[in-house]
Symmetry: C2
Subunit: 187 residues, 2 copies
DNA sequence: ACCTGAACACCGTTCAAGT
DNA sequence: ACCTGAACACCGTTCAAGT
């Protein structure tokens, strides 16, 4: 890789982080190119699809999601709600992010796959803690949980819901999960 | 209203129904105008915003939602899941519909408000049946239910989920609602 | 090998000019 | 009073021409 190419690539990613932070995952690629000080063709040369660029922008995000899961200690049911809440929040860290990741759920070859599977794994680990301390016993389908949280994140963004409205949904979701997994703790 | 104006309005709505059925709520307005055989300016004269046009397209849809609620008889918990399933399906009748309606949730003056409140009322009536036959006793927040179903509908579309995956989410949601409303029926 | 930027076919939206 | 359709500022995307 030539040094000017390497420089340009870095400039594109920096500009993308900047602009996607402000405008969301659907931000104009031409605008990102302009902000990076390069021609649109150069952006396409380095990132033939929007998702490839987005994947690069999300590298730090994925790390943060995994760190959040690692830092989470579950000692009660409300800790699990807190976790789901945090996950929904993080899924909306950039506008359109939840939708961008959801759109890729069944495409194993997508450059965004690591972002998608990172949230699944994070969820899995946290729920494993819940099981370990006896909050429930039966199986909890990680896919269903992930999809529910994504759905909650998507409405939250689209309808500009308050934190309380979002949490109310997640409490319902968690209660549903716990009943179905034969929770030993009620209410 | 002049007769040519009335004709044009009807042609626009017919074209909009056609094209929105195929392409979803975000279909190109210029394309709708072209299909209607009129200039784009004429479309904007009759429908200054996309939502005003969409509201017209949804008149029949709203009637169908209310008819569906009227035709629904709840005799068991699984009937309620069936209802939620039906509501999610109907929310995705046009691509982008769930999102279009959600975006308008807190705007009482939106032309789409009748579409939004129709789903809320429909839900309310069906859940009232559930309460009447003793499936639960406590209050169920219609807003929370509506948002959850919308969220489920949105992920379903975005991630191209199967009917089974969607239903799995709705079963969790309903169980959560019932626990929180002090259900007298378990599993 | 890589970059530029004009060009293409589209958007939504407006508005002078027509009838 | 209503309609037309060219025009504007934008998209995403491509590709000849440059270095």
């Amino acid at each position: 890789m030539r040094s000017d190419a390497r420089d340009n690539r870095a400039k594109i990613v920096a500009a993308a982080i900047d602009i996607i932070e402000q405008q969301g995952t659907m931000a104009s690629l031409n605008e990102i190119a302009k902000r990076a000080g390069i021609g649109p063709g150069t952006l396409y040369r380095h990132f033939p699809t929007r998702d490839e660029l987005l994947a690069e922008v999300l590298v730090a995000w994925v790390a943060r999601v995994e760190a959040a899961a690692d830092a989470t200690v579950i000692t009660s049911k409300s800790d699990l709600v807190d976790w789901l809440d945090r996950l929904a929040l993080v899924s909306n860290e950039y506008r359109g992010l939840a939708a961008s990741i959801a759109a890729v759920a069944d495409d194993a070859d997508s450059p965004l796959q690591s972002a998608h599977s990172a949230t699944l794994r994070a969820n899995d680990r946290v729920f494993a803690q819940g099981r370990a301390i006896g909050l429930f016993e039966g199986p909890v389908d990680a896919g269903t949980v992930g999809r529910l949280v994504t759905g909650v994140a998507m409405v939250t963004e689209q309808a500009a819901l308050s934190a309380e409205q979002t949490r109310a949904m997640l409490e319902v979701v968690l209660d549903g999960l716990l009943v179905r997994a034969a929770s030993s703790v009620q209410s």
